[in-house]
């Protein structure tokens, strides 16, 4: 009944036997104890469980754990680099892009996907990119600013690097 999977999560490889019906989000939360990824709905509409699978934003409730076999997964817990916050994490703090914090991991991961495709998004592009993620606290106003903050920071870093 159980199926063996091998997944790389936040740089570490895990092997587990999972039930075929186990959702990726359940695997992350219940098996790996990575509770930073949240569940806010049962219809794949809220985006709280958004993570990166092979670099692309995925709502981890829309994917079975077995489908992640052989993939590279990144969750909110893997965003900071040796204790140095990711620019998006910094952006959300600097611009007060979170209140209760429940949607925040999903917002950050969805924003990471956006910035990987478009390093200098307009306000409208940010709003459209995050339209799969509900926030009930911020009215999205400061989330937009947080993403802009991060984009600026990443671009500055890249400029310096080049």
């Amino acid at each position: 009944m159980a199926t063996k999977i091998k997944v790389k999560v936040n740089g570490k490889t895990y092997s587990h036997e999972v039930e075929p019906r186990t959702l990726l989000v359940q695997y992350l939360r219940d098996v790996l104890g990575l509770t930073g990824t949240h569940v806010g709905c049962d219809t794949s509409n809220c985006g709280a469980c958004t993570i990166l699978v092979d670099g692309k934003a995925v709502k981890s409730c829309t994917m079975l754990a077995v489908q992640a076999h052989g993939s590279e997964v990144k969750t909110i817990e893997g965003m900071a680099d040796n204790g140095a916050l990711h620019p998006l994490q910094e952006g959300f703090r600097e611009e007060h892009g979170l209140q209760c914090g429940f949607c925040t991991p999903g917002m950050i991961m969805a924003s990471a996907d956006l910035l990987s495709r478009n390093s200098n998004p307009s306000e409208q592009e940010i709003r459209e990119a995050l339209e799969g993620n509900f926030c009930r606290c911020t009215g999205y106003h400061n989330i937009v600013k947080s993403v802009q903050h991060a984009a600026k920071k990443i671009n500055q870093k890249e400029k310096v690097a080049s």
Partner: protein, 788 residues
């Protein structure tokens, strides 16, 4: 000097949230924890003929199934309500029992019938699917007004006509009728302030943990007020001594009112854990949240406002049917009455007001406080009336408001304003906020643009809303006289550690409001120490002595004031120790920037030094107790009254009826501000929810009492691309009766924004002769109105 107050200090709580280290109830895993799934009625009204649990109990991994009969046999009580509103004739309100699991009848779709406890959540759910419940479906009623009509199906046999209470406030009806009969113009609106669903993104969750060895219970729960939950659960439902129960509300993912109330699932998890001697966790999925979290609003209202020839308001008459749902939730009776009727003075000098409210049971989810709670309904009513009246009387809606505003008063030199509906406003300057908002929107210029746009066939509209709210609930004696069954003070303990570091315990609870930052700013400034030396602790009944929790924008005004009281005691006692150390008299000392100095000298002793001395009292004032640790209860002298002016600018698409919100301006006066970044954030979020009600949201029940849009697939909430960036400004009129001068900011955005948006759409649609449409203003509704 202040180092922190008034500054946009970044939040100290953020680090755990942005790194995925928040700890919400569903994240908690206890050893040997079992999982619960609740079997719920698919019918709004049904007799329960039988419940067969045998197949479910035979399933591998199932520990136990309990039904309503087990609950009834155990002799425990149902969920109580915390507020009593009687009938006008003095009869006690109807307060039907609300058992944790029903045995005889289901009274709303979602009513709990049985609970399955299993080794995993999946097994519990699988087993729940094969609990066989035989129902006899009965006719149901979901609409409050229809529920009062003769022949309507009864929710409770002992509540005739489904009436819970009827209630009246203000001037006698005859006086108001007399004033209205002399009016030059009367504007009448009949509308539904539709039911909305709070939808905190974290679904509710509860873990009951009974430890037999020491006969102790712990409840982890998604609560805005763990102490109140403990009190209600222990004293009224389960009959467990309170000192044996610890309630923890860890990180909570938003509440907006819906997590104030004591819910059946909380007591049920404790009860199950006690029976099974294992921790038991229940977490709602979203569909379950839709049909079990208390909903908000749901008023059916007729409102009439009379004006004289010059446009001065001469009277207001209001009749509302308030839907309470199937059972009474914790604050349900208070919301449509004392939190709604009392706000109908608004910002206006209306001389005669009468409001009449009928509280009604229906076969729907409980209705209780949702962000604003009663005040958004009052504001919607008033502000829609004013804009409609302006249209009817061909007056400018802004000028009509300015003409009727209560003149400025600070509550110190000028007295507070006594309304016709029981309240005394603390301080206000209503012209200031509206004038500023008009300046920001460029009002005269906008009207010109609107005129030009209309010629090109474009439908631009502008809408106003000027609101007041009553926050900082509340003086205990006052609310007690009004039917509250609890006091509404707050508790704040300040424990100075021997090293001068400070632990602060507050009965307020943060579920997004940022108390760990704001409260620390207050403490650090008052004591003259770095914020890093201050830790705010909340949400655990074991560490925090007591508390009434967070709702009604009360945390800083009431909870912050309790902390200030304790800080004053700390400084007072510290002065005695400092005087002893400095060999000076207390009167010669001044306390500033974290040290006591002998006035006019450079002789001083620091806060840390005094703290250490308090705990190592070798050389110490005679007769003074060691230690530096004070707890205070703060019971406010009055409510606080924030106010503001909101302006919405919309464009309606003629072809599709879609409303685009182009601009939203909010000028709010919430009194003094400790952290402007956090206050702005509160306003933003409030605006989004109020705009949500105007344009997108609304619970839909069909005639059988089925909630037909109970999921995120079906219930529309604002998404990032539905909203503009908001334009905010602030005016500061301090609260005269609390030590921080603060009024509260949590609900302002929601209260003010809804009517501004609807007024803007009506303004845009005025060329069609459309005066009133029901919310939410969906494209379909707007399109149909334009094309009928």
């Amino acid at each position: 000097m202040t180092n922190y107050i008034g500054k946009a200090v970044k939040r100290v709580e953020d680090k755990r949230f942005i790194t995925g280290k928040g700890r919400y109830t569903d994240d908690i895993v206890l050893p040997a924890m079992a999982h619960a799934y609740i079997v719920r009625s698919p019918y709004a009204h049904a007799r329960i003929i039988s419940v067969d649990t045998s197949a479910a109990e035979a399933m591998e991994g199932v520990i136990k199934v309990f039904t309503g009969k087990d609950i009834a046999a155990s002799g425990i009580n149902g969920i109580p309500t915390g507020w009593q509103v009687n009938f006008k004739n003095g009869e006690t309100m109807k307060e039907p029992p609300h058992p944790l699991l029903v045995a005889d009848k289901a009274r709303y779709m979602g009513d709990a019938v049985a609970v399955v406890i299993a080794e995993t959540k999946e097994i519990a759910r699988d087993a729940g699917d094969i609990v066989e419940v035989e129902y006899e479906e009965l006719p149901a009623v979901a609409d409050a007004k229809k529920a009062t009509e003769p022949g309507a199906p009864l929710v409770h046999d002992d509540a005739p006509n489904n009436l819970c209470f009827d209630w009246e406030l203000g001037n006698p009806k005859a006086e108001v009728n007399e004033a209205m009969s002399k009016a030059h113009h009367i504007t009448t609106l009949e509308f539904t302030n539709q039911r909305v669903i709070p939808n905190a993104i974290e679904p509710r969750s509860a873990i009951g943990h009974y430890e037999e060895a020491n006969d102790k219970y712990t409840l982890y729960t998604t609560s805005q007020n763990p102490h109140l939950t403990r009190l209600l659960m222990c004293a009224f439902v389960l009959g467990i001594p309170e000192h044996k129960v610890r309630v923890v509300a860890p990180d909570v993912g938003g509440g907006f009112g819906s997590k104030i109330f004591h819910y059946a699932e909380e007591a049920l998890m404790i009860w199950c854990s006690q029976r099974l001697k294992r921790p038991v966790k229940w977490t709602a999925d979203r569909s379950e949240a839709f049909m079990t979290d208390a909903h908000g609003r749901d008023h059916v209202t007729k409102a009439e406002m009379g004006f004289d020839k010059e446009g001065k308001i001469v009277g207001l008459r209001v009749k509302t049917y308030a839907n309470l749902g199937a059972y009474l939730s914790t604050f349900a009776p208070c919301v449509p009455t004392w939190l709604h009727g009392t706000l109908l003075q608004g910002l206006y000098t209306t001389p005669k007001i009468n409001v009449d409210v009928t509280g009604v049971f229906t076969h729907t989810v409980m209705v209780d406080a949702y962000r604003g709670a009663g005040r958004p309904e009052a504001t919607y009513l008033l502000e829609r009336l004013i804009d409609t009246a302006a249209l009817e009387m061909k007056m400018d809606p802004a000028q009509l408001r300015l003409k009727n505003f209560i003149p400025p008063f600070d509550g110190v030199k000028q007295p507070g304003y006594q309304t016709q509906v029981a309240l005394q406003y603390d301080s206000g300057n209503y012209h200031g906020v509206l004038n500023r908002a008009m300046e920001m929107v460029g009002y005269e210029q906008f009207r010109k643009e609107q005129e030009a746009a209309r010629k090109e066939g474009k439908l631009l509209g502008i809408g106003f809303s000027t609101y007041i709210e009553a926050c900082g609930i509340a003086p205990s004696a006052v609310v007690g006289a009004l039917g509250a069954r609890a006091g509404l003070y707050e508790v704040g303990q300040v424990r100075v550690q021997p090293t001068g570091k400070v632990s602060v315990y507050t009965g307020a609870h943060s579920h997004g409001q940022g108390h760990e930052t704001t409260f620390a700013q207050v403490v650090a400034d008052r004591l003259g120490i770095p914020m890093d030396d201050v830790e705010i602790i909340h949400g655990d009944s074991e560490s925090v002595a007591f508390g009434m929790g967070t709702y009604g924008s009360r945390s800083l005004a009431v909870g912050g004031s309790a902390i200030v009281k304790s800080l004053d005691k700390i400084i007072e006692k510290g002065a005695k120790i400092a005087a002893h150390k400095l060999e000076a008299s207390e009167e010669d000392l001044e306390f500033a920037e974290g040290k006591w100095t002998v006035k006019g000298t450079d002789k001083s002793v620091g806060f840390g030094d005094v703290a250490l001395t308090a705990y190592v009292p070798h050389n110490y004032p005679a007769g003074l107790e060691p230690g530096l640790d004070f707890s205070s209860f703060y019971d406010p002298a009055n409510f606080t009254y924030p106010f503001g002016a909101h302006i919405a600018v919309v464009e309606v698409d003629k072809d599709t009826g879609k409303v685009a919100l182009k601009r939203f301006i909010a000028v709010d006066d919430v009194g003094n501000v400790i952290n402007p970044m956090i206050v702005d954030g509160q306003i933003h979020g409030g605006l989004a929810q109020g705009i949500g009600q105007a344009l997108f949201e609304g619970a839909l029940y069909d005639d059988n009492g089925q909630l037909i849009n109970g999921s995120y697939m079906d219930y529309t909430m604002p998404r990032a691309d539905d909203l503009p960036s908001f334009e905010l400004d602030r005016q500061v009129t301090p609260c005269p009766h609390n030590p921080l001068g603060v009024k509260g900011a949590g609900e302002a955005g929601t209260i003010g924004s809804t009517p501004a948006v609807v007024n803007a759409v009506m303004d845009a649609l005025s060329p069609f002769g459309i005066k009133n449409l029901e919310m939410p203003l969906t494209p379909e509704r707007v399109w149909r109105a334009m094309n009928s």
